[in-house]
């Protein structure tokens, strides 16, 4: 790191801290918590608080069909709830996690730059801009920030080649949001770049971590509900069948896209409008269609696992049934750590303008549909479609440019060889 970069880093972090403190000081968070663009039923903090309230009153937190998050997260926040200056600490946690995300992105991009033979300009200002966007993430106080944070940690540690930590962080994010299981492939590739370790070893480690987290959450629930596990089989049967248990309410909740509250994703309107006979078919296809894409992606980018990681993260955040702007923004920021991509992007201007327009139209259309009653749901749906389209274009474009970039590197090497 040269002086310029350190200066940029300090500037960015100061800007980030400044923005966050100001926004929290003027209670912007109270407005943002209720915005459906930023928090969904899957990640909303108010629903988390509802779960905490229910468990404090001797009920299961999943009773009432409002709380849909994982038990460990719930216990973490219920510990906070007993503290005195609860709101301040809550704000602090979200702001620091968000800020750490920013720093991690910075560090990851530094790692990228060190690796590449190409000289690229320092784009700190770019991250500073994104820090404004990301501060919305912490203002809305969605718990989606935690799996994203663990995701960045995974990438960072995997770049360093720390096997145990990276698998642990990945399992944390998988535990909180099951879709991130797809990221095991780039993590394996990254770790195998650094150290010679078998694939099965990594998968085994990952499995152990996830299972331990799951068993930890089950023990939490057992303690809570005072279930004496006289027979383990009966207990597991209960766990699977109980409609007020965490499997039905958090694991299956995200897969089945049960809640139809609008978000910026593509699932909600389909779930409202689809004929119930075809619901499962469409749900399966739309959830599963990402998986066959992973194979060619892996084949193409086996030598660039960082890019593979970020592109899969962006795909997940686009096609998540409970999509959020914050998650999308962080994934885009992660993608743009591969700054060399920008060079070959064909329609960057178009994509960014669609992003801008659709994001600014979302609250307008929401207002005209829900508050004013002058517009209808199709307006909002149209805006989310445009956002989805922008994301899809961005993904396609970045894959295209990454392939071109790979090709260039290859040929430059060849050329160099030829010249020599």
């Amino acid at each position: 790191m040269n002086f310029k970069r350190i200066f940029g880093f300090i500037l960015t972090s100061f800007l980030g801290i400044f923005i966050r403190t100001i926004l929290f000081h003027f209670h912007f968070d109270e407005k943002f918590i209720k915005r459906i663009e930023f928090s969904t039923p899957f990640t909303n903090i108010r629903r988390l608080k509802e779960g905490i309230f229910l468990s404090q009153n001797g009920l299961s937190p999943y009773e009432g069909n409002t709380f849909h998050q994982m038990p460990i997260l719930f216990y973490f926040f219920s510990l906070l709830n007993s503290l005195k200056s609860q709101k301040f600490i809550e704000n602090l946690i979200f702001a620091t996690t968000d800020f750490l995300c920013l720093i991690l992105i910075f560090l990851i991009s530094e790692n990228h730059l060190q690796k590449k033979e190409f000289e690229t300009k320092n784009k700190n200002f770019f991250f500073a801009n994104f820090s404004i966007f990301l501060s919305l993430f912490c203002l809305s106080k969605t718990t989606a920030i935690f799996p994203q944070f663990f995701l960045l940690l995974t990438l960072f540690t995997a770049q360093k080649g720390w096997i145990f930590l990276s698998t642990f962080f990945l399992s944390c994010s998988v535990y909180l949001d099951i879709y991130y299981i797809l990221l095991i492939i780039p993590v394996i590739l990254l770790l195998r770049q650094k150290k010679k370790i078998s694939i099965f070893m990594i998968i085994f480690l990952e499995l152990i971590w996830v299972l331990s987290l799951l068993s930890l959450s089950i023990t939490f629930l057992m303690k809570d509900q005072e279930i004496t596990s006289s027979s383990l089989i009966e207990f597991t049967r209960k766990l699977l069948q109980n409609k007020k248990g965490f499997i039905h309410n958090s694991l299956l909740f995200s897969i089945t896209a049960k809640d139809r509250t609008p978000n910026v994703g593509l699932f909600w309107y389909l779930m409202i409008e689809i004929f119930s006979n075809f619901k499962n078919l469409f749900l399966f296809i739309f959830q599963f269609q990402v998986v066959p894409l992973i194979i060619p992606l892996t084949l193409q980018f086996s030598k660039n696992p960082e890019f593979l990681f970020s592109i899969i993260a962006l795909i997940i955040s686009t096609f998540h049934p409970y999509a959020e702007l914050g998650r999308m923004a962080l994934s885009v920021a992660l993608l743009l750590t591969n700054i060399t991509l920008l060079k070959h992007m064909r329609n960057l201007f178009l994509v960014s303008s669609i992003f801008l327009f659709s994001i600014s139209l979302l609250p307008l259309f929401w207002f005209s549909w829900i508050n004013q009653g002058t517009g209808n749901s199709n307006f909002f749906y149209g805006a989310t479609l445009a956002l989805g389209l922008a994301n899809i274009w961005l993904i396609g474009d970045s894959v295209h440019s990454a392939l071109k970039f790979q090709f260039e590197i290859k040929n430059n090497k060849k050329n160099n060889n030829n010249n020599n």
Binding site: L54, F282, N378
Partner: protein, 619 residues
Amino acid sequence: MKSFLLLTLFFIFIIITFSSSNSFEDESYSEKLIIQPFSKSQILFNFQFNFEVHHLNKYHDFGFFPNVIAKLMQNHNVFQFKLSLTQGRIKFEECSSIPPITAPPGAELYATFHNQNLIQEKWKFFVNELSGIFCASLNFMDETSTTSIKNFPFENFMATNNTIRSQNSRYSALHREGVCTENLTPWIKLLPCRNVHGLATLLNSEKIYDVDYHSLSVSSVDFKEKMSLSASLVFILNPQKILSQPNWSFSKLFERKLMDSSCSLAKESLVELYLPNYQSEEIKIKPEPTKIINDLNSQSLYLYDLKKSEFPFDLSVKFPSNSENILSEKFPLKTDRITKNLNGIFGVIQTTIENVSPNDLKFIYFEYLPWFIRPFIHTFNISFSNSESNLNMNFNLNLNQNQEFFEIIQMIPNTEYSNPFTIEMQINLPKQTVVTLSYEFEKSFLHFTEYPPDPNHGFEIPSALITLKSTEIHSQKDQQNSSFLFKENLRIYTEGLLIPLPVPDFSMPYNVIAISSTLFALFFGSMMQILFKRQKENQNQNQNQKENENENQKENQNQNEKENQNQNQNQNQNQNQNQKENQKENQKENQKENQKENQNENQNENQNQKKIKRKSKSK
């Protein structure tokens, strides 16, 4: 022989008649009409028809007890139930006397079952059968709009053990249910004399549905050995509005009068007329009452026994010219329930209850919300405030801890597509104090088939129920001699709520499926194209690269040329000529050879040549 046969037949006939008359003796039926002033200009008419059967026999051959109800109760194992179908809402704030049976607008059904097994299923069948009997759409009282109520609000039934009530009870209300003559006809069919004889002759459906408030109710208890049923009809009307004068009579109000006799099956047939205390000369009441009881809580009772009265019976009251129907008594509680729209899909439901009476009151507050209104229970806030004593307290809901002022009896969180959110609590409200209960809620989005036919009307939320225990009132009555005339618990219903849910576009399913699928296909297709087409392009690019290398070489040549520009001008011209010749030669060759095979190469070559041309021209 003939005479003997006749004799035996006669004896059999006598035995049958005796046995049947015995079963008649087991049953009793009474009818009563209570007329009392309700508010400044309104009068309340309360028709009560009570049935009782002692010693139920196996075969249920009743004399006049409605067989439908008895069978219904026994088939579904119902211990007791109460159904009310109501039009209009009592404005409790304005009323000066309490209606004996209060009901919320729409339909309300409460039932307790004998035992707990299969209670959900029993309720379902029971409700469906009942809706068939009374021609009401009670079948909408399904699992999603039914809840249990622990503290029995209908105390006029005999007290039984509490455990039955709390576990086996079901309560449901349909706020939107319309009530009309089609409900009245089956109700009248329950009565032994129909509307041919007795008090029910007054029920002219054209007139009694043209009133301010109209409530029809049936309640029944089954004690296995004995059974009781009470059917009642309450309506409140304003003679000032209908007749444009305060004086009224049966014939004027209903266009009917009791013609020939009272119902002969009735054990007693009474008309009770309550009026404020007047001097006997001032007020003119026809016909002469059988009994007058004065000074009854500042009211006087005019009692008519129809068994002894003359017919036709047409009650008419003529008030003194400058009299006002004043009853100084104030209603003890003031209630108000509103929704506030916060931000789009969020809102607040707020209930305020004010104790206007000079005494501390203890009451039970009960409300339930259907599942699609999702409350945030952690925002449930109970605040007491008193402007006089500067009392200002805020509480959050806590099931484990009982506060001084309130006590949670039960709280059931809602579940999607099944049980509604229910809260029941006891509140001790000090005098002149206002309690405000408020909580935030979120509207949920339904599947497009789950919306009712007119979705933009909104969803009706049943009114909250406040139950004042009868003992509470009685002690109060003793203390200050108030005019409240009720023996059972006083139930106060707040306003129902109308919450508009956000509505999707119902004409869109095909479009949405098509457009969303297109977007997904676009993603998948474009990704596949980019990822797989690259390899071919790579090959092309390899070719291109070779060409680039050639170009580089030529550029080097050109650079050399630059150095000797003047010298090489002629050479360039020569080169161009040579190239043209080459082109022609190539074309000729191509024509001779198969074009398809070598097209690409030719094109490339041509392109190269053209590029070279341009460069040379530019120079």
